[in-house]
């Protein structure tokens, strides 16, 4: 038994002049990269298998038993006491010639390439190349603007054939849509059939050059104008680590962040849509009042102090734990209700995506128990069910927190409209929404702007009960206040600690 559970031995080896400790038998290049050494590489990706085709990460071993020529470090393993260098004349000239080869047929259309600014060809040319081309022959031209399905555009000319995307479709999604056809100069990435998997946009992220670009992000913004906000996806209960690229003109794309505990290096295509409402034209900039179908600006404090009682609040499942705790502290248990989004798709698609779209359901249940000392009973509290809806019949004014990401869920969209429609006519409906584009808006009497998930700090719990953090980025709605802030405003204006429930009595 002890043989099977044999622990990995940590050994020491030398990269240039730096001593590195790593597991024996682990990848040599990864060990160096993990210790902050910058090594040029195109084809190696820690989430994929090793192919060793780009020949950029060459090292030369020093010592008596060393092989006589440089070898690629991505295809070598760590062993005790070896000494490798990648700054010897042999290696540097090999890397420079390899880079020159990569650029032989590259069209150099950086001016119109979306990758410019984060392109490995540009970076390594400045670092290792900086030569004048010695080619006299014409470049081989390939097909430029190819729509290969899903959200991906292919430019075969810019490709350096690192085969990362081919390995991704073969190993991660196992759908095998991409392949390299032909030989030599004429070899090119080809979509054997249009991309059809739900993780297709990951090939855009792993492409080290501008061969694969995103249709959604195409030509929208140059990357050097963008800043990354490191946050978490709220699209489903998985809670992948993501970064949102944004600037003061808006948010432009979502990409995955490395997180071995949750999502590895990938994220689903559905999650890449979550940035769209952050800076949409429909974002609420100030409180609005429904004047028989026409929404006009109003003052929130004015009507919040004169609301008819009794009141109730219907919370979404996308708020942070901190917000739930503050809300439950202000409101008695019998006035809190929830709107749970219906499940969509298969329960788990064996990679990342889950059918439960209520991202913070666990955090909600936790803070509910903490506040009221009572387990949350969904059958009586979930307003998407008939039982809970009847309890709202006697309510005179009702706060409704509109679920975030509503437009992305086809089922939920119609359900939510029906739910708003089914609320009693005489009840004053105040929607706490981030934009005015949700369906059923005409049933609401007031709209109050609230921040989106990328405009507040907070925590939520994913399906594994791991705490995930949300970070505050650029705010696109200046007057937006969080849900507990609005509720505290009622308490303040009615001058009563439990103003939400008993002020009118």
């Amino acid at each position: 038994m002890s043989d099977i559970k044999k622990e990995k031995k940590i050994v020491t080896f030398k990269w240039n002049d730096q001593e590195i400790q790593a597991e024996e038998g682990s990848n040599l290049l990864k060990a160096a990269l993990d210790h902050g050494i910058e090594v040029a590489h195109y084809c190696y990706h820690p989430g994929l298998s090793v192919s060793g085709v780009c020949r950029m990460c060459m090292v030369e071993q020093i010592g008596d038993k060393a092989p006589p020529r440089p070898y690629p470090s991505c295809n070598a393993t760590v062993s005790e006491g070896i000494h490798v260098r990648n700054d010897t004349p042999k290696v540097t000239s090999a890397v420079q010639s390899t880079l020159e080869f990569h650029l032989v047929n590259h069209p150099l259309d950086c001016t119109i390439c979306d990758q410019a600014g984060e392109c490995k060809l540009q970076e390594y040319y400045m670092e290792h190349g900086a030569y004048d081309s010695s080619m006299v022959d014409k470049k081989v031209h390939k097909e430029k603007v190819q729509d290969i399905g899903r959200n991906v555009m292919l430019d075969a000319e810019r490709c350096i054939l690192c085969s990362r995307c081919v390995r991704f479709t073969a190993e991660i999604t196992k759908t095998h849509e991409l392949g390299i056809l032909n030989r030599g100069d004429h070899a090119e990435i080809t979509a054997i059939e249009p991309l059809k998997n739900d993780y297709a946009a990951n090939v855009v992220d792993i492409c080290p050059v501008g061969a694969l670009t995103s249709k959604d992000f195409r030509f929208n913004q140059r990357v050097w104008f963008l800043e990354d906000l490191e946050t978490t996806c709220l699209g489903c209960v998985t809670g992948c680590s993501v970064k949102i690229s944004q600037n003061h003109n808006g948010a432009f794309r979502v990409r995955p962040r490395e997180d071995q505990e949750v999502n590895g290096y990938w994220m689903c295509d559905e999650g890449r849509e979550i940035y769209k409402h952050l800076s949409s034209l429909g974002r609420l900039q100030f409180p609005l009042k429904n004047n028989s179908g026409l929404f006009i600006p109003t003052e929130s404090e004015q009507f919040l102090s004169t609301l008819p009682r009794p009141m109730a609040i219907i919370l979404s499942t996308h708020l942070t734990v901190e917000e739930y705790e503050a809300i439950f502290h202000l409101i008695p248990e019998d006035q809190v209700y929830f709107y749970r989004l219906p499940e969509e798709g298969p329960e788990f698609d064996s990679l990342l995506k889950r059918s439960d779209k209520n991202a913070n359901r666990l955090g909600l249940e936790k803070s509910y128990y903490k506040a009221y000392n009572n387990v949350l009973n969904w059958t009586t509290k979930d307003c998407s069910l008939a039982g809970a809806k009847e309890k709202l019949n006697s309510v005179k004014s009702c706060f409704i927190v509109v679920p975030e990401f509503l437009p992305h869920f086809i089922k939920a969209k119609n359900n939510f409209e029906n739910f708003l429609h089914s609320l009693p006519k005489e009840c004053l409906k105040i929607a706490l929404a981030y934009d005015d584009l949700f369906q059923g808006i005409n049933h609401c009497d007031y709209l109050l702007p609230v921040p989106t998930f990328a405009e507040k700090d907070g925590t939520f719990f994913n399906f594994k009960e791991q705490a995930r953090t949300l970070k505050k980025g650029i705010v696109y709605s200046q007057q937006a206040q969080s849900v507990p802030d609005y509720l505290a405003l009622i308490t303040k204006t009615t001058n009563n600690s439990k103003g939400f429930s008993h002020a009118a009595q």
Binding site: P107, T111, I112, S133, K144, R222, F225
Partner: protein, 174 residues
């Protein structure tokens, strides 16, 4: 306060007045009696600046009459006044691929430094010789691509041809 006490004590104020107005007086006399003058009767007579004068921007065009600009945003990146706003979009022709749908310059913000023309890789933006920039409303000075490329003063609205053509650009041995 007297700047030069000695001068005043020895010569009185007349010498000081003469010294102060010496250059003005010389120019006055020269203008009165000589034919070539240093000043112009401005609106009627106009000064011819050199071709390198940095005035109102010109967006150049291709042979087919469309904008040369590929909307690479290098001018907007390089602009110290941040007065260039470009919206890019897909072009139907795959050899062009990217073209601007809107190219705006806020002329009141522009400092006419010419960094945009220096940054441009395809000779799409130049600073022309027009310098008479005055107007009434602020909104008139946010100019778009129709004004920048096809205004009356540029070959009767036909525009100025760029030195870089797409065909030649692809032929370049880089």
């Amino acid at each position: 306060m007297l700047l030069n006490k000695d001068l005043y004590q020895h010569h009185g104020y007349l010498k000081g007045l003469y010294l102060a107005l010496k250059i003005t007086l010389i120019n006055l006399l020269r203008n009165l009696f000589k034919k070539e003058r240093l000043t112009l009767n401005y609106p009627e007579e106009k000064y011819q600046y050199s071709d390198r004068f940095k005035g109102l921007h010109i967006l150049t065009i291709k042979e087919d009459g469309s904008l040369r600009c590929t909307s690479c945003m290098l001018c907007a990146t390089n602009c110290p006044a941040q007065c260039i706003h470009i919206v890019a979009s897909n072009h139907d022709d795959p050899s062009v691929e990217k073209a601007p749908v809107s190219f705006e310059i806020e002329l009141l913000r522009c400092v006419f430094c010419g960094f945009c023309a220096e940054a441009c890789p395809v000779d799409a933006i130049r600073l022309g010789g027009e310098y008479e920039l005055a107007g009434h409303f602020e909104r008139d000075w946010i100019v778009d691509q129709h004004f920048l490329a096809y205004r009356k003063s540029l070959n009767e609205g036909k525009g100025v041809l760029s030195v870089v053509e797409d065909k030649n650009r692809m032929k370049l041995k880089l």
